[in-house]
């Protein structure tokens, strides 16, 4: 159905060919990352006073800001990525099989960036491991932040397992064509491989995918992450049951946008028109539109309940939210995306790869803005608002802003490196699908 003309050898193109463009991209990304690492070093030296964060209350600021907003954003991309990949396997959506691994890799990359943000955010990162482990048996009973760490760790392990399992099949078959200097790595990844395992691994991966699909809405971006906020009764902008679904839609739209951008770059760099087809991009664009629509709907829900005869604290927050220029900008971005997706659905000529790419960037900017606003506006409008300095004010400092560029660069570097090491498109995607489709069908029925 998909990947009609692609040959197994095609997926090795990035490993075999490295152009000057790759070095430029790597150089630029590394330079930005280094600038940010230096800024982070400055923060470690001076303390978080180099951010524009402050104490809420009499302090007149907010104590969580861009770092936490960007953390949720990255986690969202990660969760959305793996949901996408799991859906491909579970529901046999073979059209998207060529990007399944990109989505999995994006999960690993984005989760790592989220992890970095936790470290960057804390005042004493040196104590993170010891303090958390020591108190874990007690804190896991009551702290949503510990639930969060637990679930993200679980997710990381599941995704890494999933990726490692699916890589074995490809590497065994393509190893003889892949670079010799990575031989020890390939040997490690395929240790103990026998052909008998293919069938078993396929089942394991199917079950892992099922686990991920079930866990994602219940525990991850539909559960624990929004609970960090939704369970606090003293911040009206955060509390409430809508946060779970709302976070989940943001995760999915951000991840699809991320996958579109990465696949677009791969297609452009390696002439993969036959591997990453227009048809696939059309499909991804439609999904992007669907989740953007859900996101918009949930935003409307929140706004309506917040401005129509709401309790005083919620109503103050909601009026502030809808009048914030950044929020209006973010929603406008999403509106433009929606308009484009609808238009291209009605008239196929409206679709173009470049437009979908632009829509993806708009989505990512919109969701990042919304997430950061969510964090600090929620804190700016607490229930206890007697303080003259409430609502406080906040705009990220240079050190904070650099972190977004820095983590985006690190994630880019991750992809630039990984495309040189393993095939980023599954071998299955360029092989005949017939056997697998039948087999998947059987399992679904079983």
């Amino acid at each position: 159905m998909s990947a009609i003309d692609a040959e197994p050898d095609d997926i090795l193109t990035p490993i075999k060919n490295t152009s000057w463009r790759w070095f430029i991209a790597f150089g630029v990304a590394a330079a930005i990352a280094l600038v940010w690492l230096a800024a982070w070093g400055y923060q470690l030296q001076e303390g978080l006073v180099v951010t524009n964060l402050a104490d809420w209350g009499s302090g007149g600021g907010v104590t969580w800001g861009l770092y936490i907003g960007a953390f949720i954003w990255w986690v969202g991309i990660a969760h959305g990525g793996i949901i996408l990949s799991a859906a491909v396997r579970l529901f046999g959506m073979t059209r998207y099989q060529p990007v399944a691994r990109v989505a999995e890799l994006l999960t690993i990359g984005a989760l790592s960036m989220a992890g970095i943000y936790i470290v960057v955010h804390t005042g004493r990162p040196d104590r993170l491991v010891t303090s958390v482990i020591e108190s874990y048996p007690w804190t896991v009973q009551s702290s949503p932040l510990v639930w969060d760490v637990t679930v993200i760790t679980l997710y990381f392990v599941m995704t890494a397992t999933y990726l490692a399992l699916t890589l074995r099949y490809d590497i065994v078959r393509l190893r003889h064509k892949m670079p010799k200097y990575f031989a020890p790595l390939y040997a490690a990844l395929t240790v103990g491989y026998t052909k008998k395992e293919d069938q078993i691994i396929e089942r394991m991966v199917w079950w892992l995918a099922l686990g991920i699909i079930v866990l994602a809405p219940l525990l991850l971006h539909g559960g624990v992450i929004p609970w960090l906020f939704a369970l606090l009764p003293s911040m009206p902008g955060w509390q409430g049951a809508v946060q779970g679904p709302s976070f989940l839609t943001i995760a999915l739209m951000s991840a699809i946008a991320g996958v579109i951008i990465i696949s677009y770059s791969l297609r452009w760099a390696y002439d993969w028109e036959h591997v990453l087809t227009d048809n696939m991009f059309r499909g991804l664009t439609a999904w992007l539109g669907l989740f953007s629509l859900l996101f918009t709907w949930l935003q409307l829900q929140q706004i309506i309940t917040g401005v129509f005869a709401a309790p005083k604290d919620l109503s103050k927050f909601s009026f502030a939210k809808i009048t914030t220029p950044e929020y209006i900008a973010a929603m406008t971005f999403i509106a433009i995306v929606l308009a484009y997706v609808f238009a291209q659905a009605v008239d196929k000529r409206v679709f173009s790869l470049n437009r979908s790419l632009a829509a993806s960037f708009l989505v990512l900017m919109g969701t990042l803005t919304e997430k950061v606003l969510f964090v600090f506006e929620g804190l700016e409008y607490p229930t206890f608002s007697l303080y003259h300095a409430v609502p406080g004010h906040y705009f990220p400092s240079t050190v904070e802003l650099l972190s977004v560029a820095g983590t985006a660069s690190l994630c880019t570097i991750f992809f630039l490196v990984i495309v040189k090491v393993v095939p980023v498109v599954e071998l299955h995607a360029v092989e005949s699908h017939d056997d697998h489709d039948d087999h998947e069908g059987e399992e679904v029925r079983a």
């Binding site: 009499s58 302090g59 009551s142 089942r203 003293s234």
Partner: protein
């Protein structure tokens, strides 16, 4: 929890075991399990018996050894001779999909036929999983049932129960007596060496939306008995002391994530964003590392989850007292005075005083002393569990006295019914009593709307379920009341005006953000004001 109801049976039973079913999820569930076991070719009775005893095992009624001894032979008899492959395991194997050198089917057959060990082992696994599932679900429910018995202090989130704890420190703050002089704020800064703008004690001046009347609200940490900050802390650095309900931060383990600050509804937390203004060397403390202090002999003091509180006369208490230590509490935790960089701080209610190793007596706090010195005495710190006449009863005693000054209408009526201020008899339209509800006597001497005192008291945001330990006397700020901009009021002292009372190189400021915005270098005008 009681197993007494089932005592008519000879055999000890699991608490969930009823006549119908041994399984907590009921007979239906049990039948289903049995049906599933019967579908296999193995002994269903044995399986059910094992499951039943697995639950007794988790309930502690039989030991693992007993369980093993009981079933080892049975299980061997049941499974050892069985060589049949378990065809269930082959579900989904596609016979067409054969590899180049050896077919999947062949390989699986090899495995199954090559030894009875494997098939027995896989069956044992199945049995084990079923038993474990049954047993675990029993265990999970069993544990929940016991929750009430698990002392809540295990988690360090709540104070011990009233009978076990020594105190429940709190305050009664008489807002009617506060004139907004901010001496308490200065007293707190001097005691703790907090940095610029970290006003652990804070006083609002606000205007009543309706009357325009000027009011004050004194805001220390509320030291909640159900503190959201302690609950959410991912490392249990922010915790509630079991012994006396003080909500403190362990400066040694705090990672500076600031979730406590986010969860606190009152805004009492102040993070140490940069270097503290007051160097450690200027504070008074026992010059040993926390680990060393914790290792010192604590005597037979109050024992809690994370260490013993030093008893009076013990080595640790002596050493801390000698140093007039204001940094450690009796457990040897670094939890008092200003926090180090990257760590959260807030009002502590002076634990080093409450643990009795400073020159200031137990049962006092710096802000109260400062308030008393001005002659206002609006802050009354004490043990909120105390009865009048006990030690540290200042808070409850003051509250009682104030209540007596504002007697309830009932009390007024009892004193002189003629004088009560209730205009039940209006001129011209005398309402008639309804005989079915009131007697004539009731009508003439109506029940009071308040049965205790007319004194207006409140706890801040009590609806949120935080169980704050500060009781205010006075009127609660209304939802539309707004603090008077502290930088523009002239008729009362502003935060800058108490600068002269501060012993540290700390600039007193209200809006900390303004100060912090200058980043690591610090704001230029602060250096000027220090020079001035």
């Amino acid at each position: 929890m009681s197993t007494d109801e089932s005592s008519e049976s000879d055999e000890p039973r699991h608490p969930y075991e009823t006549d119908e079913s041994f399984h907590p999820m009921g007979k239906e569930w049990e039948d289903e399990m049995r049906a599933e076991l019967e579908e296999t070719e193995y002994d269903a009775d044995l399986g059910m018996q094992m499951a039943r005893d697995a639950q007794r095992l988790v309930a502690g009624e039989i030991s693992e050894e007993e369980f093993y001894a009981e079933y080892h032979d049975d299980v061997e008899d049941e499974f050892e001779a069985d060589e049949r492959p378990i065809f269930d395991d082959l579900d989904g194997v596609d016979l067409d999909e054969v590899g180049d050198d050896q077919s999947m089917l062949e390989s699986l057959q090899d495995v199954d036929l090559s030894g009875d060990d494997v098939s027995r082992r896989s069956m044992m696994k199945k049995m084990g999983a079923a038993g474990l599932f049954l047993g675990y679900s029993a265990y999970a429910t069993h544990e929940n049932e016991q929750d009430d018995e698990i002392p809540e202090q295990v988690s360090g989130v709540r104070p011990q129960g009233e009978d076990e704890r020594e105190h429940r420190w709190g305050m009664v703050i008489d807002l009617d007596r506060c004139d907004g002089c901010l001496s308490c704020v200065a007293g707190c800064i001097n005691e703790n060496g907090t940095s610029t703008g970290a006003n652990w004690m804070y006083v609002f001046a606000y205007e009543d939306d309706q009357s325009g009347q000027r009011n004050f609200l004194v805001r220390p940490c509320q030291h909640c008995s159900n503190a959201p900050c302690a609950k959410v802390c991912p490392v249990r650095a922010r915790h509630t002391r079991e012994k006396d309900g003080l909500v403190l931060t362990n400066y040694e383990t705090c990672i500076g994530c600031r979730y406590c600050q986010v969860a606190c509804p009152y805004g009492v937390n102040y993070f140490q964003w940069g270097e503290p203004d007051v160097e450690m060397g200027r504070l008074e403390f026992l010059d040993e590392t926390p680990a060393e202090v914790q290792e010192m002999d604590a005597g037979d003091g109050f024992e809690a989850r994370a260490g013993t509180y030093a008893e009076e006369g013990s080595d640790r208490h002596e050493a801390l007292s000698e140093a007039n230590d204001h940094v450690y509490d009796a457990r040897g935790w670094w939890a008092d005075s200003r926090p180090p960089t990257g760590v959260m701080g807030k009002c502590t209610m002076c634990p080093s005083r409450q643990d009795g190793h400073t020159d200031n007596p137990k049962g006092t706090v710096a802000c109260m002393n400062a308030c008393d010195e001005t002659g206002m005495s609006a802050i009354h710190f004490g043990d909120m569990d105390a009865e009048i006449g006990d030690d540290y009863d200042r808070g409850v005693r003051y509250l009682e006295r104030r209540k007596n000054l504002n007697p309830s209408p009932t009390e007024k009526n009892e004193a002189d019914p003629e004088e009560d201020g209730f205009g039940w008899e209006e001129e011209g339209s005398t309402p008639q009593p309804r005989d079915d509800i009131y007697t004539q006597e009731d009508w003439e001497n109506p029940p009071a709307p308040h049965d205790t005192s007319q004194l207006s008291t409140f706890k801040l945001l009590e609806d949120l379920g935080t169980e704050p330990n500060i009781t205010y006397i006075g009127n609660e700020p209304g939802p539309d009341d707004e603090q008077v901009d502290p930088s523009t009021v002239d008729d009362i002292p502003g935060y800058e005006d108490i600068q002269r009372d501060i012993q540290w190189p700390v600039t007193v400021k209200d809006n900390r953000k303004h100060h912090l915005d200058y980043g690591a270098g610090g704001p230029p005008e602060d250096t000027e004001s220090e020079e001035a």
